[in-house]
Symmetry: C3
Subunit: 396 residues, 3 copies
């Protein structure tokens, strides 16, 4: 029996009837079994790919991508996922489009979705805006479908918003699961999500938020650490606490990177911007106050510079379990002595984890494809079984 | 019997032998039966899509798009149409290409068409230039096919030129046909194509021209209204007159929006630039006279501003048949109080017609796909029947 | 028996076991039989296309393109080749990506290659850099495949580097073979690769280098001519000499265009930059010395201007065999009196060779597709035979 068939049999036991035609905004919208389904289908698609099986579930159709921020890896992950399933990507490049000319989101959403099966949106720049944009967009296409404008109802894959980065964190989590030999081995494992110094400013909060919102669901001891003033959204911390309480794990905040790293099994040191400052920035942008933005940037860079010792050095790594915690990063990292004089991580640490880091990233296309498949296919168990018996991807 | 089979049977009765391998420049190049064929195939493709049938008529192949002006909706409509039929879009982005470095159109046309089944071109910026560019391009690929450079002869879909906007106007017309329950119900219906104020200037004339050139063929009473000096191309008015004479309809010009709207069944209020001014602008661009262009812009904006009362207000709408004429727009509209202080249409009017407006737009991908199909498939009746019996688009 | 079957039978006789999973950097990495295989498969794919046979060897998969220099024809050739074989192109646009933010090539290479079957890279701007970038990129994906990050091992098609332009030169050569009725008719034919004046500066050396490195392998008399100071890379000249010695042809340098053209069967007059100056420019760019770059440009343009008589005029053409040598160019050419006041070729000469020039270019998509096919398909003979029996490309 192939791995895919085994995975399909596992999928069959899960209660996942609500996933069909549903959007993927945040991991905490989904039940544990629904997340399990994503991981299961991601693994199955990877197994099928490895065995040169076609994984097309569409004969034709479009995946619309909207990147309101630069992106290489997420762009290629989305393109890979769409290709894997038989969809063609059509990118809505706002610079090429007439969106700037005052079109409303509602209109644009319908105009680009006539053949859209899935919509992938990255909008992480402005606190309070990213999720709102995604929601407005998807509400519009749902209305469009209801009103007979669209022949199919597109579903959303959140490719990063201001609140969560589910495709990243689910890929991170699937990597952890495989590194530790199964989700059943994660109980009591300590994971440190910590702020780290970067010479740039204003990095999104969606990764730390996504991590504490997701990783608290697997019985792990999740520790968040950051300098004063770099808090994440309090709503997400509440979710982390509830998750931990429900799964026998724990969630706590500590004041130093050292304490967070102490005996950690997994570390995720990464820069992000202070939540309050990002709220201020959003308001400055809305007011078109360039001078205010420049001043804020200066202030934030100075504030960052006070915490250059928050870095994943060799010394810091020694504190972790056996000095060899699993090092995670969403990439690209600011690497001390390689990409910047002082950054998030020592070059020697980063370099030692290169292969696992790339593996971590390699789950993202499959996670995205699994999210698409679960939202578009009514009976994913039968679909996986059919794909297992299907034709070759590379025909010769 | 499915709707598609019924439509295929209707198609069988039409005299459409000249459509295979032909280009689509202007609606008035086509016979009534040829236009009927486009509408019929568009409806059939939509029916197939609704029933989750694959509409691929190509296993592989390219659709080349060239947008010499910004575009969201036409870009996505073309991409959707190509995807629907199994073609992959390759966009000729002139900023990325070496066209600016002195390549001739003839050379470029051949270089991008080695695998091209269809070419979609939007070139509406300069009066006297858009159609010429399309013609030069298509003549070149025809020669390339004749000379054995290209293995297939690409055909054109005019995605908007300086003269006509056939994919838009055909979509508008198909929308009208469905709103009125069939083409047979259009006799004697009054449609008002009127100029409307916009705070921008220089909008193409291809929509009003396309509308009077097409809508006069269905027995309707077509009325054109615009302020003095905003005439459309006289050649197209001649066509409108001939069409009306041939089909028992009428074409006339009136001097006010009020008169045009009076008892109208359908209204299409939309800004456009004065023809003569656009000719002047073309010459200024060719001469590289930036100062002249700036002065012309100022003059045109001032001229526009004299006609702010040409707006589709609630008051104006009350003049129409039962106060509830079908409101049309090619989108995006300049909406008073939403996208600009004073524009083409009141927000409340626009908002009331949102669903029909989006439906109007939703026909465009199918119209484009029908144009492609009629030019690439020798026996479209058999093809539709085969598609009706074919596989699923969404496979699971 | 179809032409494709004949070609497959020829392919069967060649020793080409090393081509599977191999990259295509330079023609001189490949054996004569391997080059023969590329030509054979290119001809077969063209024959299949002409007979409306599907040439898909992939059900899905990505071809990644990276253009570190502007490109129209190579971009469309690569897109056409990928489409021909069933791959979707995903372009890594460095302006849209985070590469500029300090990512290493190794990381990017893995991040974009999760579903990549083939990578096409054009990087011809800087002597000493283009090939190095391609090699670094491909080494990274090979490691990624070995380490289980990638499920398939992508292979390279060099779309132009600083050393060779194999897709161009192989297309040129296939054109020559067909023009002269077979490779067996080329023995003793004289081909003149000569420098020609252009009002621009800094054109890559990869074409002249690729031509002398390839054309010396078919028993032809290859003559290189350029003004003093416009030498090509000495390593490539060494290869040309060895090739000539091995195949009974010859390679020599002459000092004037006149001598090169004398009794030539084929001429390839084209501008390029002095090798030494390009090395200097690379160093200036690396040092960020804009003033130095500007001065170098001025110097090079002045140097170029001394050799305006190096032009493919009607007079010059008269020196060739019967005054009617086959004129080659990689396009776009600088055409005297058309695209510039004084350039590489007279308008009347260029115009007379338009159809053969476009045919020359038309081989490139097939050559690229053949390179991909030979590197991805273990048994290309069976594959061609299966394609010959396969379904239609245009289904109706």
């Amino acid at each position: 029996m192939s791995k895919t068939i085994e995975l399909a049999q596992h999928l069959e036991k899960l209660h996942i009837n609500n996933m069909y035609k549903s959007d993927f905004y945040w991991t905490w919208d989904k039940t544990d079994e629904e997340l399990d389904a994503i991981f299961t289908v991601a693994d199955a698609l990877r197994d099928l790919r490895e065995r040169n099986k076609s994984t097309r579930i569409f004969d034709s159709g479009l995946g619309i991508s909207i990147f309101r921020d630069n992106s290489t890896r997420t762009r290629f992950s989305f393109a890979s996922a769409c290709n894997l399933l038989g969809l063609t990507v059509q990118d809505l490049d706002e610079k090429k489009s007439q969106i700037a000319h005052g079109e409303t989101v509602r209109e644009t959403a319908n105009m680009v979705s006539f053949m859209a099966d899935v919509i992938g949106i990255r909008d992480d720049m402005f606190i309070g805006e990213g999720h709102k944009y995604q929601k407005t967009f998807m509400d519009a296409v749902k209305e469009g479908y209801r009103d007979g404008i669209l022949e199919q109802q597109p579903t959303l894959v959140n490719l990063q918003c201001d609140v969560d980065h589910p495709t990243q964190c689910m890929a991170d989590m699937l990597h952890i699961i495989h590194q530790f030999g199964g989700v059943e081995n994660l109980k009591g494992k300590k994971i440190a999500m910590t702020w780290a110094y970067s010479p740039s400013y204003g990095k999104p909060l969606s990764v730390p938020q996504g991590v504490i919102g997701l990783m608290t669901r697997f019985g792990m001891d999740v520790v968040l650490a950051h300098p004063e003033g770099y808090d994440v959204m309090p709503e997400v911390e509440e979710i982390a606490k509830k998750n931990a309480a429900a799964t026998g794990g724990s969630y706590k905040k500590v004041a130093t990177m050292e304490e967070a790293f102490q005996d950690a099994d997994i570390v995720y040191p990464k820069s992000w911007a202070p939540f309050a400052a990002m709220e201020e920035r959003t308001k400055l942008y809305q007011a078109g106050d360039q001078k205010g933005i420049d001043e804020l940037e200066k202030k934030l860079l100075a504030q960052n510079a006070q915490y250059k010792n928050w870095t994943c050095s060799e010394e810091m790594m020694k504190r972790t379990k056996n000095g060899s915690a699993l090092y995670l990063h969403c990439l690209p990292a600011d690497i001390t002595g390689l990409s910047c004089p002082e950054g998030e991580v020592d070059n020697s640490v980063f370099d030692r984890y290169l292969v696992p880091l790339y593996k971590e990233a390699s789950y993202k296309p499959y996670v995205i494809a699994a999210m698409i498949m679960m939202s578009k296919v009514k009976d994913p168990v039968s679909a996986l079984m059919a794909l297992d018996a299907a034709d070759k991807r590379k025909l010769f």
